[in-house]
Amino acid sequence: MFEIIESLKAPWAWYVAGAVIGLIVPALLIIGNKTFGLSSNLRHICAACFPANIKFFKYNWKNELWNLFFVAGIMIGAFIATHYLSNSNAIIINENLKSTLTNLGITDFQHLMPSELFSFNSLSSIRGFVLMVVGGFLVGFGTRYANGCTSGHAIMGLSNLQWPSLVATICFMLGGFIMTNFILPFILQFN
């Protein structure tokens, strides 16, 4: 029993995580005919809280309550995993990435996010503000423009062999590749 708990506390392997995520697709279909997709929740929250008489937000978001329950579950699960299923070991990071980031003054490798970039304090630095606020804006704007995110297109859409989702997934990856390799090294210099 002790060993099971200890192995649950170590970081989970990609095939375990991938299998669980993949099984969410049939689980949602079977328990309620729901297609997996998380970004619509951003729209539902806008529709519920700030509809502002915009046509795009005029629909009955209450029909989509199941998805808001789903994200509430994500928050609870993340809380449980962080507080009851984690060990104190630092996250293992590729050495090349470590040295690149160290050169840019990012040295907090203890947690899932480097505190030099992602914290309330770093909001006052140019790079912290750009990463969190501009980055977050692009996520919210892009996902709605694309009509789906990594879950709705890359997982659900590809599971159903929809070619538009393949186009979207390739573009997600291309955008991420361009940002990480060509734009981020520039942004990260502005401490």
Binding site: V20, G73, M75, I76, G77, G136, G142, I155
Partner: protein, 165 residues
């Protein structure tokens, strides 16, 4: 790739991204708790497989680690097999309804939007699911990213009819 014909052309864009695929049956608040349970499992995986880590996303886009490719690749494989089984054996929902997956129609917005999304994904290290997991995990930056993402979605809604699709 799609084995569906696309009967969607006459459906306006704002009707395609939400509210088209839910069960006919109304569910009580109590019944909705089952979605929270599945979400909870997902949230645990997000944290335990470090999918919400900015470092993991950086490693992926720098091709320095196989981890995220493995996660996404396995998830898609399991998803494809599951959906194929559901279709082949005509598996019904637990309420006895036929399972319907309405395909998303292609628009050029998927190219523009997906590229913008990819930029934001690499900056924040978070797509919409992990944003909520970051908050649950106690990362305060998650609130900032969520607020910005909501503003982005709202801005899209505001300009939707003027944007090329």
């Amino acid at each position: 790739m799609s084995n569906h014909t696309q009967p969607m052309n006459d459906i306006k864009l704002d009707e395609t991204s939400a509210c088209i695929n839910h069960s006919e049956k109304k569910e009580s608040i109590f019944s909705l708790v089952k979605y929270a349970f599945i979400g909870m499992l997902f949230g645990i995986v997000f944290v335990k497989a470090e999918i919400i880590s900015w470092f993991r996303i950086q490693e992926m886009f720098k091709f320095q680690s196989f981890h995220m490719f493995g996660v996404i690749g396995t998830a898609v494989t399991v998803g494809i097999i599951s959906v194929a089984i559901i279709k082949k054996y005509n598996i019904k929902t637990i309420q006895g309804e036929k399972i319907i997956i309405v395909p998303k129609p292609f628009t050029k917005g998927q190219i523009y939007g997906s590229l913008l999304f990819g930029l934001g994904w690499a900056m924040t290290g978070a797509c919409p699911g992990p944003i909520f997991a970051q908050i649950g995990s106690g990362l305060m930056s998650g609130f900032v990213i969520l607020a910005s993402a909501l503003l982005g979605t709202w801005t899209y809604g505001f300009f939707q009819e003027k944007l090329p699709h």
